[in-house]
């Protein structure tokens, strides 16, 4: 029944997951460029963002068309609204990857702090894991798994605070001060990627329960 | 601002309307009673008079001067033949005309409107006029003579307008959506008429035709006029002289001997039975086709 609606919804979800794959690739690339101070790779990451933006726009258009034509209700409507928000969060994540790549380019040649680089490595892995969990739990409509993102986000947040402390610690060294300041922004970008993943988890909960709620309060 | 509660006095009591209704109902019953009582009286009178004489003698003997031995065989046979010929003539002509008028004729043409007007009028013409017509044009005019065939033809003319009207009603009753559906599939006008319209209209046509025929076999005046003989003892043939049951009845009632009047009553019962049989056939046909679909 309602073959066209179901097909359209299936295609939208497939597109979202494809966008998720693109974001993961962008993240990998940005992290790799950061770790190896690879400016060429960073350029590639920046150029790659166009692909993500194209997908983002295509999904936006599809959603507009679907809402106008199919007038979905109940779970179908929540699915479309959830996809609308997830689309936005994914695009923002990709933008943060671009920011990281740009910062990598900016600090080319500067001496790196090993502790921070290790921290970023960990934060990067955590962020990647969160994106996967977020998308998988969305596909599975698994609210419990989506809620587990809160704990993962907690880890990134702690790592972010440690990174800031580390930068404060090395700020005495003039040569590494600028590098440190830039790296705070990188850390912030990774932390924000984690937040967006949690937001995706909240959309999963909304889709399933019909209720929109923040997983944690602002004091966190 | 408060909402007033609705008036919940449900006892009613509008007496004027009620009495009008009751008077109306009573007058309906009265009309029904008049009809039934009159008819009932007639039937009872005839049946009590003649039922004793409805026997094999009546059915198989030719008429004779002796009431004991008199029968109405030639008349019964002739009425039967007339009925069959009537159906054979009126149905094709009547249905054909109806199809032409309903499906093919352009209503704006003057000759079609004239045709319609004539058919309406002819249905109301008294039967004796048809008798005169038959005498002038069929018996004498083209020289057919006073034969069964002429009688059948005259009765055909008498009954044709009714059959045409009944067939038209039946054809009109076929919904336009059926025609549209058939046309849309690529059927020609002929195919639509023959395969959809007519089959759907058959119950109505059959009912109308049989009712018209059952009225016609009771017609006396035109047959007398064209010379249905008063006394034949041989079995009638289509090309030969004839008499019919109504005529036979009429003649028996004219005879002085009261026993013949009883015989006439008996013959009336036979005629009534034939008419009832035909009507029953019409009802059966209608129900059979309606039940199917």
């Amino acid at each position: 029944m309602r073959v066209t609606l179901q097909e359209a919804l299936d295609q939208l979800e497939a597109a979202i997951h494809e966008e998720g794959e693109l974001v993961l690739r962008a993240l990998r690339g940005a992290l790799g460029a950061l770790e190896h101070q690879d400016v060429e790779l960073a350029d590639e990451v920046i150029a790659f963002d166009d692909e993500v933006d194209d997908t983002y726009l295509a999904i936006e258009e599809e959603i507009q068309s679907l809402l106008a034509r199919q007038t979905p209700v109940a779970v179908d409507l929540r699915t479309v609204l959830a996809i609308l928000h997830v689309n936005l969060h994914l695009e923002r994540m990709a933008d943060y990857c671009v920011t990281v790549a740009k910062l990598t380019k900016l600090v080319e040649g500067a001496p790196a702090d090993q502790t921070l680089m290790e921290a970023f490595d960990e934060m990067g892995s955590r962020a990647e894991e969160m994106i996967r969990v977020a998308l998988d739990s969305f596909a599975e409509r698994n609210v419990e798994r989506a809620e587990s993102l809160v704990e993962l986000d907690e880890l990134i947040d702690r790592a972010n605070r440690r990174a800031v402390e580390q930068v404060i610690a090395i700020s005495g060294d003039e040569e590494r001060r600028e590098w440190g300041l830039r790296m705070i922004i990188v850390s912030r970008c990774l932390e924000r990627i984690g937040d967006h993943a949690v937001d995706i988890g909240e959309q999963t909960a909304f889709l399933v329960t019909g209720e929109f709620r923040e997983f944690t309060d602002a004091s966190h | 601002m408060s909402a007033t509660s609705p008036n919940v006095d449900l006892q009613g009591g509008r007496t004027r309307g009620v009495w009008r209704g009751r008077i109306f109902y009573a007058s309906l019953l009265l009309s029904l009673a008049v009809g039934f009582i009159t008819l009932g009286t007639l039937v009872v009178q005839v049946v009590t008079k003649g039922i004793a004489l409805v026997d094999l003698v009546l059915l198989t003997n030719p008429p004779s001067a002796n009431p004991e031995a008199a029968g109405a065989r030639p008349a019964i046979l002739a009425t039967l033949y007339l009925g069959i010929l009537l159906i054979a003539f009126t149905v094709p002509i009547g249905v054909g005309t109806a199809i032409y008028l309903e499906e093919y004729a352009n209503r704006n043409r003057w000759y079609n409107r004239l045709l319609e007007l004539n058919i309406q009028n002819l249905a109301a013409v008294p039967s004796i006029v048809y008798g005169i017509l038959g005498l002038a044009f069929l018996v004498r005019g083209i020289g057919l003579g006073r034969i069964l065939l002429a009688g059948a033809l005259i009765l055909t003319l008498l009954v044709l307008p009714t059959v045409i009207i009944a067939a038209r009603e039946a054809i009109r009753a076929v919904p336009g959506s059926i025609r549209d559906g058939a046309y849309a599939l690529g059927a020609t006008k002929w195919q639509v008429t023959w395969r959809q319209v007519l089959p759907s209209a058959i119950p109505g046509i059959a009912t109308g035709s049989i009712l018209a025929v059952s009225r016609a076999i009771g017609e006396t005046a035109p047959l007398i006029l064209i010379g249905a003989l008063t006394y034949i003892s041989f079995n009638p043939t289509i090309g030969g002289p004839f008499t019919a049951l109504p005529v036979q009845i009429y003649n028996w009632t004219k005879l002085p001997n009261p026993e013949f009047k009883d015989l006439a009553a008996a013959a009336i019962i036979v005629l009534l039975a034939m008419v009832l049989l035909l009507n029953a056939a019409a009802i059966w046909l209608r129900n059979h086709y309606q039940k199917k679909w």
Partner: protein, 293 residues
């Protein structure tokens, strides 16, 4: 060394739907301009006697598309769709002026046989109109009148299958078509059309007399049928057009002569997403947003 090119990620498989190639997704439907044209209408004017019904309509209907005509009542959409299979011929006072080309051939050419036209261009009506015959005979009617009598059983089964009705009626083909529900009857009418292997299916408000479940089934059916047929549908339910049509044409009424003349005109014709997300004409927008008509 990690590069963009080899940053492999695991494929996500969700619910059996493969990842779609972005290019394929964007090119899901080739633009209308590159499609085959089935009907090419130029400057079509239709009037009933002296009353104009449609004015200066020009439109192209594309192959294997569902094309919907929407608009307020009285805007001539039904009149227009009936031009495609020459059903307006059955209305004596209807006059069709202008050009309607079917695969390049003039539908109203002097030597064109309407029966041939309707063989290729079938029509389903608003109120289901099954013939008062068996289910089998309904579907077989078209082939029979068109002389396609070989392999009749297979034809009937195939048509009923295409209309998603076979499973429900395969054990009772001899039953009366009138014993089916409304939705089933309409699918039967669709099967009836499909049995003569048309090229185009015209549907004049096919679901307006049906309940929502039956309506959804008809809509799903159209989605399947358009793989093999070109479908044109008139609907007063614009949400239905939004759901199922690839192209949508919005008709409206033009009032002239101080309100005495109401004529139908084509206001806008475009892909359905465009009509319902960003119509070019304000009248279209007023109509689809429900602010008018």
């Amino acid at each position: 060394m990690v590069t963009m090119a080899n940053a492999e990620t695991e494929l996500v498989r969700m619910r059996g739907v493969d990842q779609l190639d972005l290019a394929e997704r964007e090119g899901r439907m080739p633009p209308p301009e590159s499609r085959d044209v089935v009907f090419d209408v130029t400057d079509l004017n239709v009037r009933y006697g002296s009353l104009p019904a449609l004015k200066d309509v020009s439109i192209r209907v594309y192959k294997n598309f569902v094309t919907a005509f929407i608009g307020p009542s009285g805007c001539g959409k039904s009149t227009f769709i009936r031009c495609f299979n020459r059903m307006n011929d059955l209305i004596p006072i209807a006059v069709v002026e202008g050009s309607v080309r079917y695969h390049g051939e003039d539908l109203y050419g002097p030597r064109v046989d309407p029966v041939e036209v309707r063989k290729r261009i079938g029509m389903v009506f608003q109120k289901p109109n099954p013939f008062p015959k068996s289910i089998y005979d309904n579907v077989a009617f078209g082939p029979r009148v068109l002389g396609m009598t070989d392999g009749l059983d297979e034809r009937v089964e195939k048509a009923l299958g295409q209309a998603a009705l076979w499973d429900e009626v395969k054990d009772r083909l001899k039953d009366s078509a009138l014993s089916l529900s409304g939705g089933q009857q309409q699918r039967l009418c669709i099967a009836r059309c499909l049995a003569v292997e048309p090229d185009v299916l015209l549907m004049d408000e096919p679901a307006s007399a049906l309940d929502p479940i039956a309506t959804t089934r008809i809509e799903d059916l159209m989605h399947d049928l358009k793989q093999n047929y070109t479908i044109v549908i008139v609907t007063h339910n614009m949400q239905q057009a939004a759901r199922i049509a690839d192209m949508t044409a919005f008709f409206s009424v033009e009032i002239s002569d101080e309100g005495k003349n109401r004529t139908g005109i084509l206001v806008e014709y475009d892909t359905t997403p465009k009509i319902f997300t960003q119509p070019s004409d304000k009248r279209t927008e007023d109509y689809v947003t429900g602010r008018f008509g």
